[in-house]
C-alpha cells in the first residue's frame, strides 16, 4: 500500500475470500510467487473444497464486517474431490435467489473458478472486486444491522 495516498479516514474495503485448497489457493499463491501485486484488502480463508463452503459462512462474513465476499474454487471437472464444485454451483445458484429476496446486495457476493495456474486471473478479479467495493462504499445495511444486534 502506498503510504502517501492513504489517509486515515479513507474507506478500505474488507473482502473475505473463501477459496479451495487445491486450485484457487494455489492460484493466489502463484500470484504471490510471480510478484503480481494485488490489494491487501482481501482476507483469504482456505477450505478443502468449494463443496465445503457452507452458505452460512457468507452470512457470517457479513456479520463480522465484510464489505464483499468471494467464493472461489477449481473449474468444473477439475475439483480435487471430483464433484464438490458441481454441488456448490447448484447451491449457489439457489442461494443467490434467496439472498436477492432478502435484499442482500448481490453486488457484494462473488463466485469464481480460478485454477492453480491462474495467478493472473486471481490478481485481476481481486483487484476488480476491491475497486468496485471501494466505489460502492462500506456495506452499511449489514453493518447497521450488526450494530443494532
Amino acid at each position: 500500500m502506498n503510504a502517501e495516498t492513504k489517509s486515515t479516514d479513507a474507506f478500505e474495503p474488507k473482502i473475505v475470500a473463501f477459496v479451495c485448497n487445491w486450485c484457487t489457493y494455489l492460484g493466489a499463491d502463484l500470484a504471490g510467487t510471480n510478484r503480481l501485486e494485488y490489494p491487501a484488502n482481501i482476507r483469504i480463508l482456505r477450505l478443502p473444497c468449494t463443496g465445503r463452503v457452507d452458505f452460512n459462512l457468507i452470512v457470517k462474513a457479513f456479520e463480522i464486517g465484510a464489505d464483499a465476499v468471494l467464493v472461489s474454487g477449481c473449474h468444473p471437472g477439475d475439483c480435487h474431490y471430483t464433484a464438490g464444485n458441481f454441488h456448490a454451483r447448484r447451491r449457489w445458484d439457489l442461494f443467490r435467489e434467496l439472498l436477492d429476496t432478502v435484499g442482500i446486495d448481490l453486488n457484494r457476493v462473488y463466485f469464481s473458478w480460478i485454477s492453480a495456474a491462474e495467478g493472473a486471473k486471481f490478481q485481476k478479479l481481486v483487484t476488480e472486486i476491491v475497486d468496485k467495493t471501494r466505489e460502492m462504499g462500506p456495506y452499511e445495511d449489514y453493518k447497521k444491522l450488526v450494530a443494532e444486534s
Binding site: 452458505f55 452460512n56 452470512v59 457470517k60 456479520e63 468444473p76 471437472g77 464433484a83 458441481f86 454441488h87 454451483r89 447448484r90 447451491r91 449457489w92 445458484d93 439457489l94 442461494f95 443467490r96 435467489e97 434467496l98 439472498l99 436477492d100 429476496t101 432478502v102 435484499g103 442482500i104 446486495d105 448481490l106 462473488y110 463466485f111 469464481s112 473458478w113 478479479l125 445495511d141 444491522l145 450488526v146 443494532e148 444486534s149
Partner: protein, 298 residues
C-alpha cells in the same frame, strides 16, 4: 368425511394394520386443533377433520418418541403428503412402514393472534392445484370435487396468495426488500417453532442449537435472526413442499412462506423440480448436472 375417517382408522387399529394413528384433534387451549395420537380403536372419536387442520403431521413420522409407538397411520392433506414423499426420498422413512390416509381438502383457514379462524384461506390454498392427496394408501373425500377445485384455481394459481405477495416484494428495490425483512425478522423470538413444525427439519441436532463454536446467535438478535431465517429457509431449498406449517406456527407472524416460495420457484424455473411430486426422485441438492447454469460465476 370425519365419520368416514374415524371408521377407517378404527378398522386399521382393530385389524392391527397399524399401531397408532396420527391425526388431528381438538387438543389445544380453547379447543385449538393439533396433532393427536390414537392407539385404542375406541378413541377414534377424538379425531377431527376440518379447515383448522393447519399442522403438517408428517413432522411426527421421524420423531423417536412416536416411532416407539409402532407402525403409524397418518392423516395428510395433499401438501402434507408431498412431505411424506420427501421423507421417503431422503431415506428417513420407508413408504411401506407408514399407512398414509389422504383427506380431500378444500382449503385451510388462517388463524388470528388468538388462534381463532379468520374465514380467509391460507395463501398456499389460494394457489393450490392439488386438493386430493397423492401417493396415499387410502383417500377419503370426494375426488371429483377436489378436481373441480384444482381446475378452478389453475388459471390464476401462480398469481394469487404468496405468489402475488412475492411478486410485489421482488418488484421493490434491493434496499426496500432489506428493510422489509429487517422489520419482519426483528419480530423473531427464536422459538424455533418453524423448525419444530416442519416435517423436513428432522436433524437430531440443529446447527442453530450448536454453541461450540456458535454458528449463529442462539438468542434473538437482529443479526442472528437474519442468519437463522436465511439458514432455515436454505436448508429447505429444493425440499420444502410449501405446506405452510412453519409460517402458521410462527408466533411472530413472519412471512416465512415468501422465503420458501422464492426457493421453490427457483427450483422449478431453473431445474424443473417440484419437491415431493414423485416417490423415488433424487433430491435437487445433493445431485448436480454438468450443464447447470453458471452465468453468475466469474
Amino acid at each position: 368425511m370425519e365419520t368416514e375417517l374415524r371408521n377407517a382408522i378404527r378398522k386399521l387399529l382393530e385389524e392391527k394394520t397399524v399401531d397408532v394413528a396420527i391425526g388431528y384433534g381438538r387438543v389445544g387451549v380453547n379447543g385449538a386443533v393439533g396433532a393427536t395420537f390414537v392407539t385404542n380403536p375406541d378413541d377414534v372419536d377424538r379425531l377431527v377433520w376440518n379447515n383448522e387442520c393447519r399442522q403438517n403431521l408428517a413432522t411426527h413420522l421421524t420423531r423417536a418418541e412416536i416411532k416407539k409407538l409402532g407402525k403409524p397411520a397418518i392423516v395428510v392433506k395433499a401438501c402434507d403428503a408431498r412431505a411424506v414423499v420427501v421423507l421417503c426420498n431422503e431415506a428417513q422413512i420407508k413408504r411401506e412402514d407408514v399407512y398414509v390416509i389422504g383427506v380431500v381438502c378444500d382449503g385451510i383457514e388462517t388463524a388470528d393472534a388468538a388462534g381463532n379462524k379468520t374465514g380467509a384461506l391460507m395463501g398456499k390454498c389460494l394457489s393450490c392445484v392439488e386438493h386430493a392427496a397423492k401417493n396415499v394408501d387410502l383417500l377419503i373425500g370426494d375426488e371429483a370435487a377436489a378436481k373441480a377445485l384444482d381446475e378452478k384455481n389453475a388459471p390464476n394459481a401462480k398469481s394469487v396468495g404468496h405468489y402475488e405477495k412475492l411478486a410485489k416484494l421482488r418488484a421493490m428495490s434491493q434496499k426496500e426488500r432489506f428493510e422489509y425483512w429487517r422489520e419482519q425478522f426483528s419480530k423473531c423470538i427464536r422459538c424455533h417453532a418453524c423448525r419444530q413444525n416442519c416435517p423436513l427439519c428432522y436433524c437430531n441436532r440443529c446447527v442453530a442449537d450448536k454453541n461450540r463454536p456458535t454458528r449463529i446467535d442462539t438468542s434473538s438478535s437482529l443479526k442472528g435472526n437474519f442468519a437463522w431465517n436465511i439458514l432455515r429457509a436454505f436448508h429447505l431449498a429444493g425440499r420444502c413442499v410449501g405446506c405452510g406449517a412453519c409460517a402458521a406456527a410462527c408466533p411472530a407472524g413472519i412471512e416465512l412462506d415468501l422465503l420458501n416460495l422464492t426457493l421453490a420457484n427457483a427450483a422449478e424455473d431453473q431445474f424443473g423440480y417440484v419437491s415431493g411430486k414423485e416417490l423415488g426422485e433424487l433430491p435437487l441438492i445433493g445431485t448436480y448436472s454438468p450443464t447447470d447454469k453458471e452465468e453468475f460465476i466469474r
